[in-house]
Symmetry: none
Subunit: 203 residues, 4 copies
């Protein structure tokens, strides 16, 4: 039987302090040099208080990122995917915003850290997908579904594939730093995804 601490008695003050410290430290020293001890010290918390509630530093960071995402939403930065009827414009709008976010130093370090950690640790990756990634993908998919219903996309369009054609190249550039990540890139990407690159349409 695993000890399951009583969540009701949990100190919210400590919880917040830990998440804040984790975010701050991952930005300062990077994921690899991020240590539980440093988080505990910065948060003014005993190590055990971290180990009691999280299994690893990655898990702490995941929760911290969720909290960060929650805050961003609460601040009303965007309450859903835009739908002006113009699919290309809407996608460009969102992809530009994503570019901005990925380049915002506040988000960059934890996002890179989590993505990298998830790539290596399947279990963490699964939770990362479930909690952070999929909700985002679902928004794209919903918008595309509307477009498909509106006849802007072929009826047999693979929505999932389309979403990944948009986010894949973006993530690729961001993660691997092969080229600078710009609004122009986001625009061109949307255009080529919707229109294709071939001169003669492939069936």
């Amino acid at each position: 039987m695993t000890k399951t601490p009583d969540a009701a008695r949990r100190s919210d003050r400590s919880r917040r302090a830990i998440l804040d410290a984790a975010l701050a430290l991952v930005g300062e020293v990077g994921y690899n040099k991020l240590t539980i001890e440093a988080i505990a010290a910065r948060a003014g918390v005993g190590k055990q208080t971290i180990y009691r509630w999280w299994p690893s530093k990655a898990a702490v960071l995941l929760d911290a990122s969720l909290a960060l995402a929650g805050e961003a939403e609460t601040e009303g930065q965007w309450t859903g995917f835009p739908d002006t009827g113009d699919l290309a414009a809407d996608l460009k709008h969102v992809l530009r915003a994503t570019v901005d976010e990925l380049c915002d130093e506040k988000y960059e370090a934890p996002a890179r850290a989590l993505t990298a950690a998830g790539a290596t640790d399947p279990e963490l990756g699964a939770r990362f997908n479930e909690r952070l990634l999929e909700p985002q993908l679902a928004l794209y998919e919903a918008r595309l579904r509307t477009a498909r219903q509106a006849g802007q996309l072929a009826p047999d369009t693979d929505l999932r594939l389309t979403v990944e054609m948009l986010l894949g190249p973006l993530t690729y550039r961001w993660l691997l730093r092969t080229q600078p990540l710009t609004h122009a890139f986001a625009d061109a990407l949307v255009d080529r995804v919707l229109g294709g690159v071939a001169k003669v349409t492939v069936p």
Copy 2:
């Protein structure tokens, strides 16, 4: 002045043993539990011999992967990008091969490890790009250039963008494990990249 060891007197036997041990161990225990000490022990080598020639375990793994890639080439698995004249077929062929490689357990662990480490460590990432990624991308770009010259692509096609539209989604699925990575996915991806997803062509 930094101590620069004399590369002429380097033991090639040790170098190989270290790279082999690193590849074997990263497959067995994963990147996070991979230790320099274990590599040294497995290779029958003093730790200092590793530290003398590489700055980090990531760097060892990069060299190991380069050696692995070198071997693969020498074994004549493919001496260049196919060019049958049928662009879609050629791309599908290569992307299917890439899918197979990414799923081959021999390559998977070090590839994930390097990609993740490079995402977090900019300097390592730069070398990873330069030595492993860019040469691969260049092959795609060359094939696409041929196609563009043959009139199969618009004259103003952004070749780089196109390459990333092919490899981005593939890498995305592989790294984040959002969906299974299959030949069918590779085929559909090539079709949609070339043809676009929109019903009506965007200008």
Copy 3:
């Protein structure tokens, strides 16, 4: 400000295990081949637990010797310097016992190690003197003072010099191994110290 660990929370079990292991190992492998790692391993203790409480292996050995001396006393081997009224006999008794102790393999290795280390490291030497040597010398001095008060020694006798005339040659033979260390030597030494060696008394 140096980190001062909380002595109140110190594990006495670990402390004892470390001292025991140090004594055992110094006897087995000698001082030069004695390592902190081996002590930690033998004691079933983390290395940090040694480094937390002692600055060097010599300091560990000093504490171990103090503990050993404490045990010897507790076992009632001698609760003070004998005083039968016969100074020469008393000194011979104690010096013979000292000879026996210096030749007892249980004490020899740590005693040699500490003496040698103290000779080289002034700070350690000072603590060695203060904690182990001086208390012993004080006993001799007290007995000699009694003798002086009883008129067996000249009123202006330098007690300290006398003590060192007794222990100096003994220690010299023991440490430098110039000659075998025997009871006969101890007896002759006492006689010559008390009586002098010259045929005609020097004023």
Copy 4:
């Protein structure tokens, strides 16, 4: 079969450089932090050149001290034990000189180092005695023998014991630093050794 290098081909320049470097370094960093590598570097010599001719750093230091003692002699500091007919005066003269030498920082570090190392390592100790200590003791013994023949000492005087009664306390103070080492101490020691400390002569 052990490799016996050809002594005829030995480089005297290297030999001297090594001994000088050893003496200099033992004074600077102490015996424990003295390393073969540092000696080699300081002497501008390959490590193998040291290992070829000496089995350990202690052996190097022993040779270095012998060379130092040889130089001192050559410089004519004393070509034998004085014999003015006044035994006490002669002994005081030599013991005072010994005190001065033991306090001379040029000799102190290597002398302490060798004595301490010899105390711990019996084989080294034996060679230390044979090559450095015994020749010195023999000089004392010779002078005392002359005195005994002259009737200044009892015919049955144990010369060896007497020598050790002189050098033992001196060495004791020097090595253990129990008290300052002064000319006055040397004088008092000679007086008490010759005359004894007891008020009434012990037979």
